[in-house]
């Protein structure tokens, strides 16, 4: 019974406002949260209305024909092999529509993949069976460079050993960044292909082992909590390969950042002390 009740709003296309509120997301995409994501929504909506219109128009004609020209005694079908003028018309119109759509799409595509702004926060994301590791630039604001071939069990990110910028980098198990600031991700995979997918970002990008994907960047408008999902079948644990995404206000982010930098410095100090002791003994 409870199940039937839950089905009701779906079947009746959202009748009661209370239920509609609860299931406000059944018919459409989750709200977009990124700058530029609304461009994707615009095309999505445009194609939706266009295809809906085409569907209704063609089906209206089709069904009318089916009803009107059903078999009736004494009525013979019209003998015709076609009409070349019509063929030309209904070839040209789709060509023009699709050409327009392709131009429109490619313009937005180019816009989405322009170079990341220089002040973007760089985050290195390393995906593996079945999870995500994140690496942030430390106090110097510079992320140590990645070398795909250098990825090993110890050096999970494949950080170049001699890069001084890498010294103060710190790692995290969640993706945290401030709202209103562009974030540029450097994407790697350690074993098989994974995929960075956040529906609210309108973003999907494969992470391919042996390559560094460095053209993805985004900017989230408001603080929000989301989940990062893997969207490329990567093995048994694929379905649960997720990581929290926390988009914070600049203030909260700074607090988190300072905490992380301090913790990383302490950990390094401990390591140094240990190795000093080891050397002394």
């Amino acid at each position: 019974m409870k199940f039937l009740l839950r089905l009701l709003p779906v079947l009746a296309f959202g009748l009661s406002p209370a239920l509609a509120e609860q299931y406000n997301n059944l018919y459409w995409a989750p709200p977009n949260v990124t700058v530029g994501g609304e461009e994707i929504d615009k095309i999505l909506n445009f194609i939706f209305w266009l295809t809906l219109l085409v569907f209704i128009a063609t089906q209206a004609v089709y069904i009318t024909y089916l009803v009107k020209y059903r078999r009736r005694p004494g009525v013979k079908a019209h003998y015709s092999h076609g009409n070349n003028k019509l063929e030309i018309i209904w070839t040209t119109i789709p060509v023009l529509i699709f050409l327009g759509l392709a131009i429109y799409s490619n313009r937005v595509w180019k816009e989405l993949f322009r170079n990341p702004p220089p002040d973007a926060l760089q985050v290195n994301i390393s995906s593996y069976q079945f999870g995500w590791d994140f690496r942030y630039p430390g106090a110097d604001g510079k992320l140590g460079e990645v070398e795909v071939k250098g990825i090993t069990a110890e050096n999970k990110f494949g950080v170049k050993a001699d890069d001084p910028a890498a010294a103060d980098d710190f790692t995290a198990t969640e993706l945290v960044f401030p709202a209103g600031k562009p974030v540029h991700i450097i994407l790697n995979a350690r074993d098989v292909i994974h995929s960075f997918y956040v529906p609210s970002f309108r973003l999907y990008q494969d992470a391919v082992p042996g390559r560094t994907i460095s053209w993805v960047w985004f900017e989230v408008k408001e603080p929000i909590n989301l989940e990062l999902a893997c969207s490329q079948l990567c093995g048994k644990g694929h379905y649960n390969m997720k990581a929290p995404i926390r988009v914070l206000s600049q203030e909260d982010y700074d607090k988190w950042f300072d905490g992380k930098v301090k913790a990383a410095a302490q950990a390094r100090a401990m390591d140094d002390e240990k190795s000093l002791h080891a050397a002394a003994n």
């Binding site: 059944l26 994707i40 079948l233």
Partner: protein
């Protein structure tokens, strides 16, 4: 043009063929009709297996981690534990469902069954060009079927890397944990590919060389055209997949590194090879369906096909463009971004011939005299479902939108509308249409209508909500959507879809029941030679046709769609009958 295009086969008379024993009639036969029927039964068996797997998948998505009723405890330990499907097992179910449905159900039904049965009959030939190769092709298919089913019993279980088997997950045992299963998958695909290539070679040779006198290319039924173009696609595309499967096998078992980055290989190479095959494959799965549907619609609208030549050119265009759009599966794979833009344009253009075909089908029913037989209902529904599947494809062709919906249930909805709503509905329609010719008896029309309406309703119930699931952000191939906060609220849609899928499973048994009952009492409703008053050559011979098909090689006088010609008493004009002097046929 009425030039004789081929030497008639030397002996086509039935009298030349003595009765053969059971083994040579049903098991190892050179008769293309029986080979077609062999394909039919085998593929229907795989349809049940593949459908059963789909139901398990749907059950898990609607009610995750709860024991599957009735059969849960019988599932192998690699798939389920305590009757509930486990994530690794879910991946196996998804992979095997897709592999079986594509390679062992839809291709064998469209190409194996109807290709074999119809091509010689519709072009007026006594048999295929290479009967032995033809039978070999069937048995290779059976062998590949055993190999793929064996994967379930392999140590570690069946492959769980998706039917696309993306490397390096598929190429390294330490990542997929199913070395044996994945290897069997590779071998099965390879052997299945040999079967397809053998069949396709046969079709091309037969169509080019063995047409009856007067059967010019532009007098061939659209069914033959569609199968001919499909065969060309198969010969060009399948070897690439076979090579890729062999490379995958070597990577898995022999230490090569074609696709493994650690050894200097390239994971994207697999994707390029796979989709170079995979996209023509999509059209391989739909072109023959278009041909079958065109035939049925013309016959039951009692009208010539609107724009016959436009239909042929559209199919040729689809065949050609099908080879330059594969990259649209890889917009976000890490491939060069300029390439993505190029593939986006070619993908948009491949929609044009599909639109042309749709308009021509509508033109064919316009001012017709439509009889709603079961076959016609399926064919008419095909057009609408194909329109939905085609329109939803436009979303993915637009690269920015693809960035959002790629690899979600939106895609799953899209290709099920094309492959189930398109190909499978066409296959059902074609079975109702040609069953009398195959078996000499008529399927029950009442049960047929029930089958049609339930299929239509449950199909849409099962697959339409998937569009919404995809827009809501639900990824493909995840064993349990409820682990994600933002997907949990979508569960009602998953449950509706599962109810629809169960309905479809149930409905299939009505169809099978109809076949069994009809064959059981085949004497009580025998099929006349030409039950639908159709024009093509297969309807000029008895149902079922004897060995050698045509007692006398037929001569063809005009195209296959001369219906409702003014000035004739009957509303059809078989291809073997010349038009009377006072009747003028329109050029097409």
């Amino acid at each position: 043009m009425s030039a004789i295009t081929a030497e008639p086969p030397a002996s086509t008379g039935q009298a030349h063929h003595p009765e053969v024993g059971f083994f040579h009639k049903y098991i190892w036969t050179y008769d293309h009709k029986m080979i077609g029927i062999q394909y039919l039964w085998t593929a229907l068996f795989f349809l049940l297996v593949g459908g059963g797997l789909a139901l398990l998948v749907r059950y898990q998505l609607a009610w995750p981690n709860t024991p599957v009723p009735l059969i849960g405890q019988f599932l192998p330990a690699t798939v389920a534990s305590d009757g509930a499907i486990i994530p690794g097992g879910y991946n196996m179910l998804v992979t095997m469902h897709a592999t079986l449905m594509v390679f062992f159900v839809v291709m064998p039904l469209l190409i194996g069954t109807f290709g074999n049965f119809l091509i010689p009959l519709q072009i007026g030939a006594g048999d295929m060009a290479f009967p032995l190769l033809n039978e070999l092709s069937y048995w290779l298919y059976v062998v590949s079927g055993f190999l793929i089913l064996a994967a379930f019993f392999a140590p570690g279980g069946a492959p769980g890397t998706g039917w696309t088997a993306y490397a390096p997950l598929s190429a390294e045992a330490k990542y997929n944990g199913t070395q044996m299963g994945q290897s069997l998958w590779g071998i099965a695909i390879f052997v299945n590919g040999l079967s397809s290539i053998a069949g396709a070679t046969n079709y091309i040779t037969t169509v080019v060389n063995m047409r009856a006198p007067g059967m010019t290319m532009f007098r061939m039924p659209l069914t033959v055209w569609s199968l001919f173009i499909t065969a060309i696609l198969l010969v060009l595309a399948v070897p690439v997949l076979s090579a890729a499967a062999a490379m995958l096998f070597c990577d898995l078992n022999m230490g090569t590194s074609f696709f493994k980055p650690a050894g200097g290989g390239q994971p994207l190479l697999w994707q390029h090879l796979f989709w170079f095959f995979g996209h023509p494959e999509v059209y391989i799965l739909i072109l023959p369906a278009m041909g079958l549907v065109s035939e049925i619609i013309a016959v039951f609208a009692r009208k010539p096909i609107f724009g016959y030549k436009a239909m042929v050119y559209a199919m040729i265009a689809i065949g050609f463009l099908g080879f330059i759009v594969w990259g649209h599966h890889m917009f976000v794979s890490g491939m060069n971004l300029t390439l993505s833009a190029t593939f986006s344009v070619s993908t948009m253009f491949i929609a044009v011939p599909s639109a042309i075909k749709t308009f021509n089908w509508m033109g064919t029913v316009w001012r017709g005299s439509i009889e709603f037989t079961t076959a016609m209902c399926f064919a008419l529904a095909f057009v609408t479902m194909f329109v939905i599947g085609g329109l939803s494809g436009i979303f993915m062709a637009s690269t920015p939108v693809d960035l959002f919906v790629h690899h979600t249930y939106f895609i799953v909805a899209h290709f099920h509308y094309v492959i189930f709503g398109g190909s499978i509905l066409a296959i059902f329609g074609a079975l109702y249409f040609w069953f009398p010719k195959m078996f000499g008896c008529m399927l029950n029309e009442t049960l047929g209508k029930v089958h049609f309406f339930l299929t239509f309703i449950f199909f849409n119930l099962a697959f339409f909500p998937m569009h919404n699931l995809g827009l809501g952000g639900m990824m493909r191939r995840i064993a349990d959507p409820t682990v994600y906060e933002h997907l949990r609220q979508l569960q009602p849609l998953n449950q509706i879809s599962t109810i629809g899928a169960m309905g479809l499973g149930f409905t299939t048994f009505i169809f099978l029941g109809n076949i069994i009952i009809t064959l059981w009492n085949r004497k009580s409703h025998p099929a006349p030679d030409n039950p639908w008053h159709a024009n093509t050559l297969e309807w000029t011979v008895p149902s079922p046709p004897g060995h050698g098909n045509f007692p006398v090689t037929p001569t063809v006088y005009h195209g296959p769609y001369e219906y409702s010609v003014p000035g004739l008493d009957k509303d059809y004009l078989p291809q073997t009958e010349p038009a009377p002097a006072h009747v003028k046929l329109e050029a097409h």
